[in-house]
Symmetry: C2
Subunit: 399 residues, 2 copies
């Protein structure tokens, strides 16, 4: 019998309780033990909910109960999650978490404590919701030098961009609709400004490198400036706009960013629409691979958390090797990052050509302006050249 405690009875926490209760037989069989939820921690009361019987308000009840083997942290945020998780590990309890802020900020430290104590700190649900990505990256893609990891890591922004593309609606009205449907938070900043995707690509990149990538260092640009015009140009270019969390590993330099990109229709991520997430990986011997699924939502996220619980039970007393040292990685300067840029400008074609030489023009009915695609060039070079133009907007592309 393995006793677990769930910290937080919000969306994911109630999902974890539901998944374990619904699939109790399967979970027991696959972990080889009977798994019992002994406590749920929440400050609130839930009258009428059976969880009330195992609800506690004081974390010390859990921390000081030697019968609790595994702590499931699904509260989110850094405080008090960080202290709760750290003290749980120090008290000899393995931890499974869905908390991307916590993992991005303190992953290396918490993994080191788990290793020292012969425990496990697992965080499959922190990136890609229900999509298995942390464990495959850590345990399956081990024969390759990873050259790129690029993901559609935020369902809210992907839903908004998909809707704008399908229906020709503008950003604000689609955001409002997404909020009404519960796909976007009332304060949508973390999603639409790319902060959520930034934590996630920081975690993935740290795991690829085995070193610490600070999310604060990652260039992050959201989607709030994308208008119907950009959507139309993307279509005219035979592609679509996606908010990508991307890390490219080029000759020892790591470029890491969150940015909207125009991607071509043959890109493996092109068909990842709506609230779905997708993570594309290229390895030097594996070639291209892609993982697709529900990147958020109560039950898919809880499914990933419970898969961590099963893994923690299977590895009681053995630390699962995860290489993520606290040594910090210096990211490559965005000025040396290479891509093709799409530009809308009020300038004339002659000015564009004076600045950029040969470009590919793009036209969209009803838009009386010059728009073009540059050749492949560095961001520094691009920024220098574009100064000569009266630019309306520019987008990076992976065309």
């Amino acid at each position: 019998m393995i006793n677990i405690a769930v910290l937080g009875y919000g969306t994911v926490g109630s999902g974890v309780v539901e998944v374990i209760r619904t699939n109790q037989d399967i979970v027991n069989k696959r972990s080889g033990q009977d798994i019992k939820i002994k406590y749920v921690l929440d400050l609130r009361e839930f009258p009428g909910d059976p969880v009330q019987e195992i609800l506690v308000h004081d974390y010390n009840v859990i921390l000081n109960d030697p019968e609790v083997d595994i702590v499931v942290e699904v509260m989110g945020g850094l405080n008090p999650a960080y202290n709760f998780v750290k003290s749980a590990l120090e008290a000899g309890k393995s931890v499974c978490t869905s908390n991307k802020e916590l993992v991005a900020a303190h992953g290396a430290e918490l993994l080191a404590i788990a290793k020292e104590k012969n425990l496990n700190f697992l965080f499959e649900a922190s990136v890609g919701g229900g999509i298995p990505i942390i464990r495959p990256l850590n345990q399956s893609l081990t024969a390759d030098e990873i050259t790129e990891i690029t993901g559609i890591l935020n369902g809210t922004t992907n839903y908004i961009l998909s809707k704008m593309t399908d229906e020709g609606s503008d950003f604000d009205s689609v955001l409002k609709q997404a909020q009404e449907l519960g796909y976007a938070e009332r304060n949508p900043e973390a999603d639409v400004e790319g902060y959520d995707a930034c934590r996630k690509i920081a975690i993935l990149t740290s795991l690829v490198l085995g070193k610490q990538v600070d999310y604060q260092d990652i260039y992050t640009e959201g989607i709030t400036k994308i208008t119907d015009a950009e959507i139309k140009y993307a279509k005219a270019l035979g592609g679509s706009i996606k908010l990508l969390g991307m890390s490219k590993f080029v000759d020892g330099t790591v470029y890491s960013m969150v940015s909207p990109f125009i991607i071509g229709k043959d890109h493996p991520l092109a068909t990842v629409n709506g609230v779905f997430n997708g993570i594309f990986i290229n390895g030097n011997v594996l070639g291209d691979t892609m993982f697709y699924g529900s990147g958020a939502g109560k039950l898919p996220t809880a499914s990933a958390v419970v898969s961590d619980v099963v893994d923690a039970v299977k590895h009681q007393g053995t630390n699962i090797m995860t290489i993520w040292d606290s040594e910090k990685v210096a990211l490559g300067d965005m000025d040396t990052f290479n891509c093709r840029y799409f530009v809308r400008t009020k300038s004339k074609k002659a000015e564009v050509e004076a600045a950029f030489g040969t470009v590919s023009y793009v036209t969209v009915e009803g838009l009386d302006e010059v728009a073009f695609l540059t050749e492949n060039m560095t961001e520094g070079d691009f920024n220098q050249k574009v100064k000569a133009l009266d630019m309306i907007y520019r987008l990076r592309t992976a065309l």
Copy 2:
């Protein structure tokens, strides 16, 4: 230091040697040990190839060398692979294999020996080439009741169907082209008749159920009868034809088959084209997920084999729990399998409606015949009703 021996220096075997040599530092770091290829077994000589220095022709040299920790079996076929692998495990060596025939036929038995001996028998490369699927299924999708696992599991047939779709070419000429490019074997039967996909869906289904699914029991239909007409009808229906290995778990009944299907353009597998593979999984809490990548080829397959080697090194002395008992699963009768059928017939619409009631007709320019899509019905019901018609061909659909 961990010594490994590679059995077979064909396409995959030479790939394994190349991957370990190319990515030696990465592989050592991720496994936490120095990995050395001590022997390569092959009956042939390879003059001029550095492998010659470690080449042996007698398996007993490997079997009797206590320094060999891990045996990599990449010869293919049942004999002598089965005896070699079994004796390696009995001699206390973990085994990593890419051999789908071996795993489909003897997986349960070899896993039991590995467990008893506290070793590992790993076979990531046996399904989906470089795509991580065996380990995710075994270790990540553990919180779910799997309701469906459906894959494009054979690159050769997917290449042929993609080419027929893109270029309007006929089966025979595309097959010839595929053979010239090395995408199809000189004897293509195992691919085009679905036998290869059949072994793979047998392995995946056995892992989902934790019990033995005999590949001989799986209904298997290939793509040799698909003509340009079917391709055109599939397009007219807004979909495409894919050879699917499919298992559906419906109310305790397991339907398992390999069959060409018409799938809609929104199906997650619709964009898996050319030699790529894709595996779609639905779980009762996870929802839909999909894994995509190179399903074959020297280096992608070798990448998966070497990831197993890394895992075996990390788990020296510990058996990785894999639930696959020898207890045999009785598959559901195809007569009770439910889907919508597409039918081409020489009969008249009145006869069609007399037999099937309401149907959806499909027309394609230049084809002067009746073609239609049935409602959802059981295969037994369909076979009964279609007897009244002069049928040209029928296809299962997932529309």
